[in-house]
């Protein structure tokens, strides 16, 4: 038996099914049917999504976006233990509380490093294409068991806690995937080609320093739009990097690639489109300003972008 991502999809689907069910039957939840329905639809995407015709999934996605867009996914009243009780429990359990949390990264690393050796009768135990993510999933399951033992609590309670956190995250939990989908639609429709055409056709790049700036800033800007440096790299490197920097000015291509991708990452730090790095943490950390993480990152990002331009210009040729 090989553990593939499908198992993690089913696990996630089951958890979302339970969370959605809990919300629908919670009479105190302000929007129990719309919020619960939102999570039940999302559960269906994980449980049966690959067996549904794509246009049907498309309709599901649009319905989810409409529910979220018109305020249907608000959180219920979080039922937490009082602060004093949590403190008492923290005193009692001490540093043992840290161990289940640290189990997740520990198991992830062990599985990542050890997966190559876990082959039984020619069948790998872990799908080699997704070793880290599957290791992460296994780590979460083991950590949950460990946490139940340490805290003498049960899986049922952990589902209630998952519901509390899913409720608090609200639609921000789904946004990264929706943006990933948008990236694919963009490349289907040829958005990348159009942007590359605009950025190369109207700027005079006879000066080497100008070409370096166009390449690095273009990577950052294009990443800000797409939310992902991977999407920007083929466009800018195909449009400016290879024909101009390499073809005309004979840049060191390895350095160009490394610095180009890092310039893209400075864009990732500055865009709400990179939702899993910027919008999700703001929701997870319960920040009232959903752009708070981006605001903090902008000065760092701009300084690193300038450093990139200077590095490539000084050592690339």
């Amino acid at each position: 038996m090989t553990i593939t991502l499908d198992y993690l999809f089913w696990l996630t689907g089951i958890v979302l099914l339970i969370v959605g069910g809990m919300i629908v039957i919670d009479r105190e939840h302000p929007r129990r049917f719309s919020a619960g329905g939102f999570w039940l639809l999302y559960a269906a995407v994980f449980l049966v999504g690959d067996r549904l015709p794509p246009p049907v999934v498309g309709v599901v996605v649009i319905v989810m976006a409409l529910i979220a867009g018109f305020g249907g996914v608000t959180a219920g009243k979080p039922k937490q233990l009082p602060e004093a009780q949590r403190r008492a429990s923290a005193q009692r359990l001490g540093n043992r509380l840290f161990l289940p949390a640290l189990t997740i990264p520990f198991v992830t690393v062990v599985v990542t490093l050890g997966a190559g050796h876990l082959v039984f009768g020619g069948t790998p135990l872990v799908d080699p294409k997704n070793v880290t993510l599957i290791g992460f999933g296994i780590g979460c399951v083991i950590a949950l068991g460990y946490a139940c033992v340490t805290t003498r609590d049960n899986v049922g309670q952990s589902m209630k806690e998952a519901r509390r956190l899913v409720d608090a995250l609200s639609w921000a939990a789904v946004l990264p995937q929706l943006l990933g989908m948008l990236g694919l639609v963009f490349s289907d429709a040829g958005v990348g080609k159009a942007v590359a055409h605009l950025s190369t056709a109207y700027i005079d790049m006879d000066l080497r320093f100008v070409a370096v700036i166009v390449y690095c800033v273009g990577m950052a800007l294009f990443t800000i739009i797409m939310g992902n440096g991977f999407a920007a790299f083929p466009v800018m490197t195909g449009g400016v990097g290879v024909p101009v920097l390499y073809g005309i000015f004979h840049v060191n291509p390895a350095m160009m690639a490394a610095i180009g991708m890092f310039s893209g990452y400075t864009g990732t730090l500055m865009t709400p489109m990179a939702a899993n790095f910027n919008m999700v943490p703001a929701a997870l950390l319960e920040l009232p300003d959903r752009n708070a993480v981006i605001r903090v990152q902008i000065p760092t990002a701009i300084c690193i972008l300038v450093a990139n331009i200077l590095l490539l210009n000084a050592f690339g040729f």
Binding site: P53, G58, L97, A101, T112, G180, L184, V191, M261, L284
Partner: protein, 258 residues
């Protein structure tokens, strides 16, 4: 060739920019952008829905990293994980938010550079451990924190995780981005060793560390300036009832807004 490029799909980009500027709900903006892009590219309604559906199924791996740890992290929080993180950092007298985050930045960047990107992350490290520690260390020096400072510390904790991850992972040879870069360059007729790409990432990785660590050091100085004079009741006890009540109402309110 230049006339063959269809510029209409850029409508989708315009929808995104206008939507975010006017502060519409991001879910709505992204769905609208996908539909607008499809229409501009001349897709039929059936084709647009199919493109959205296929894209959404292909990207199901993205939210796993957010959703899977929630059950265990939630359970540990119920039993005082965040409070414990604050107590622990309180026992280290030299700890400040800035120093703590500089150490975390270094560890995050170095471990990512050797491929251990799983040793961090917002749901499983920043929310339950790093952010409460940054708050705890500051509280320990200056007593009760105003909400604005509390939120700023949390945002810095999240930012530090991102900077460490991004500028560390790209100097790991087996990282997907490096494979992608060398493959694309090869298709364009330029052959490059993955090792060289990784090595040329190191100068930027060092710059990123120095720049962000400097900002964290400045954060400490700013906290000192803003909090040091007014309410220095240090070393404040972590179990200060005022602090406890404050944290509680704060979480409750944020929960209502979300």
């Amino acid at each position: 060739m230049q006339t063959a490029v269809n510029l209409w799909p850029l409508i989708g980009v315009a929808v995104i920019v206008v939507g975010f500027v006017l502060r519409f709900n991001p879910m709505l903006i992204v769905a609208a952008a996908a539909v607008a892009t499809g229409i501009a590219a001349g897709f039929s309604p059936q084709h647009i829905l199919a493109a959205i559906g296929t894209g959404f199924i292909k990207t199901r791996n993205i939210p796993l990293i957010i959703l899977l740890p929630l059950a265990v992290i939630g359970l540990l929080e119920r039993h005082g994980l965040r409070e414990r993180a604050q107590m622990w950092i309180g026992s280290i007298k030299a700890a400040t938010a800035g120093r703590l985050l500089i150490v975390y930045l270094l560890v995050r960047e170095l471990t990512a550079a050797v491929g251990l990107t799983g040793l961090g992350g917002h749901p499983q490290m920043v929310r339950p451990l790093i952010a409460p520690m940054a708050e705890g260390a500051t509280e320990n020096r200056f007593g009760r924190l105003p909400d604005a400072i509390r939120f700023r510390l949390r945002a810095f904790a999240a930012a530090t995780d991102n900077v460490g991850l991004f500028f560390g992972e790209d100097i790991f040879v087996a990282f997907g981005a490096i494979v992608l870069m060398t493959t694309l360059l090869k298709e364009a007729g330029v052959s490059v060793e993955p090792m060289h790409v990784a090595v040329w990432g190191i100068p930027t990785a060092i710059c990123a560390f120095v720049i962000h660590a400097t900002r964290l050091w400045l954060l400490d100085r700013r906290l000192e300036r803003e909090l040091g004079g007014a309410n220095a009741q240090h070393p404040a006890n972590g179990a200060d009832p005022g602090t406890a009540a404050d944290t509680h109402t704060d979480t409750a309110r944020a929960g209502d807004e979300a």
